[in-house]
Amino acid sequence: MKLQQFIAKHSQHILYGTAGFTAIGLLFDYAFHIEIIGLIALIIASIIGVFPIAVKAISALRYKIVSIELLVTIAVIGAFAIQEFHESAIVTFLFLLGDYLEKKTLAKTRQSIKDLTAMAPTTAQVKQADGTVATVDVDDLDKGDIVLTHVGDQIPVDGHITSGQGYVNEAAITGESELVAKKAGDSVYSGTILEDGDLTITTDQVGDMTTFGKIIELVEEAQDSKSSAEKFIDRFAKYYTPAVLVLGILTYIITRDLNLAITLLVLGCPGALVIGAPVSNVAGIGNGAKNGILIKGGEVTAQMSKVDTMVFDKTGTLTVGKPEVATVAYFNGQTPDDLSAYLTKVQEIEQNSNHPLAKAVVTYLKAQGVPADQEAAPQVTTIKGRGLYSEDEDLLIGNLALMTDHNVQISAADKAKVEAIQHQGRSIVAVAAAGALQVVFGISDVLRPNVKATLSSLRQAGVKRLVMLTGDNEQSAQAMAQGLGFDEIHAQLLPNEKLDWLEKYQQQGLHVAFVGDGINDSPALAKADVGVAMGSGTDVAIETADLTLMNSKFESLYKAYVLSRKTNANTTENIVIALAVVALLLSGLLFGLVDMATGMFVHEASILVVIFNAMRLLRMHQRSAVNKENHQVIYEK
């Protein structure tokens, strides 16, 4: 259908034409009193104006959709029938003007996501088999390709650095523009910018499969995923528009007053109602995306704004998640040298584990120069939430519960020694061999910056209950949480016990958000009303959580909470504005106060009002930056 494309291309010219002829018409009619010219001009204006509206109305009708355009078209034809050319010209002009302004302002609310997509790389410098370098479109890249990047280049793929070093701006992924130092072996992400240095990168992921590609896809889908309120409005609008049409026809049949009937059609247009709620979400989610907060759709903002209970995982969420061995205690009067054979075994076993505590132990033992075969992978039995057991070596590595389970005898003096370490807020990795305790590693993890200030801001903003759930031991959990202002702390939990707590809160009628680091917390993230992941860009985090803090900054949680509430409030405001306008216009009509042209004016104005209202959400960043400064003050006190 070439006609529609023609109209789309010339919509601005059509608008100017209608505007011009309407102006001429009114001028001749009222200023010069040459009514015949005025009349002709108004008729021309109406015909030019109604043409694109009618074409849209008819094409929608072919798919059995009663559109707003159909209401307006019928109204204009009706106005012609009763020779109300003033009204028909003004109505078509206002409708087209409204359409044009709607398009312009809507584009503004979509700007954040556009800015994001614009950051997507388009080409890459790829090293060829013969040693030359060629420029390749990113769509044609493959895993394993060697990509070269220089200062100022955008990194075109997800990959790891094979040689070179530099500073990278990862704002596209994290929303933070601080430069990150990168060297050989480090991972780099597509869409980030190399500000300094030269990197040779081996490609791991390309195009839509990169973290950046997934973020864009997610945000795009999120902006269109509707909350239940929106779905309700959608269903409402679907029946509302045809109902207005039927009402108009009935009015004409009963009163025989065509003027009243067509005025009703114009007033009944549901424009602001249809656009109001989605536009708030687009703006809110767009703002989040730009600041490293990924919100998966309108339902998430609705749920998040209801949250009154926030449950936090400890390791990796409240803490940085990079534990280090801070204390080591040896038992039975032994020295590290006496135990070197065991320590080698411990390292060989632990190097195969992904557990953060195991990693800390391996790092420590390596630094101490304990020899170990790096390829070794001894047979072990993992005991969930406890640790592990090597039958071959008769070696137990894990927490104290593991020791108790396996009847390891611990004297009162030794027990006091271990408890002293726990009271310092450290997690314990105990090693027992031949039924006796040999070594205990005390591992500490650093609290993330601004945890305390953020928790207190959240409480001020309306979160009633703050809970910490951890698999770690009671003492270290208590020591870590001291002074942070938690209402409840539950320690030594297995993953499924964390779920039980969430369920318990939900049964009490609380709205629960779970904040975790996204990898081992997936079930809890899924179970909670809102799952919040502290993601450092891991796929699991992005996929499971409802809301992801890409920059892993704890204070972003406060921003996400406030943004969700503002977005949700904004949606409600827009729905109220839209309904109020329709109610106002219809009652105005009942008392004979509104004619067709004013009706159309108010109607179009209300559409712009809801869009402008939503645009307030785009500016929220500055305001919360101020809050962040306040945070700092509270924190330092």
Binding site: A60, Y63, I275
Partner: protein, 75 residues
């Protein structure tokens, strides 16, 4: 079954969304359609033995919307 993503020109009216969705659903070989209104994209699953991404792009063009690019992923 194959997937295709079509990038369209800017969509401004919610009723365009329904039109495109209905139009594609009525095309032979199309299994499911998702129109991303704000992103101006259409994602569709289709049977590669019955129809082609180009044919789907033609349907959308026929409805009066501009198709900027077509990206197919065979699965």
């Amino acid at each position: 079954m194959a997937k295709v993503t079509l990038k369209l020109g800017e969509l401004t009216c919610p009723s365009c969304l329904t039109k495109i969705e209905q139009g594609l659903k009525q095309t032979d070989g199309v299994e499911s359609v998702k129109v991303l209104f704000n992103a101006g994209k259409v994602k569709a699953d289709y049977d590669a033995s019955v129809t082609t991404p180009e044919a789907l792009a033609d349907v959308i063009t026929g409805l009066g919307y501009e198709v900027k690019s077509t990206k197919a992923v065979e699965a």
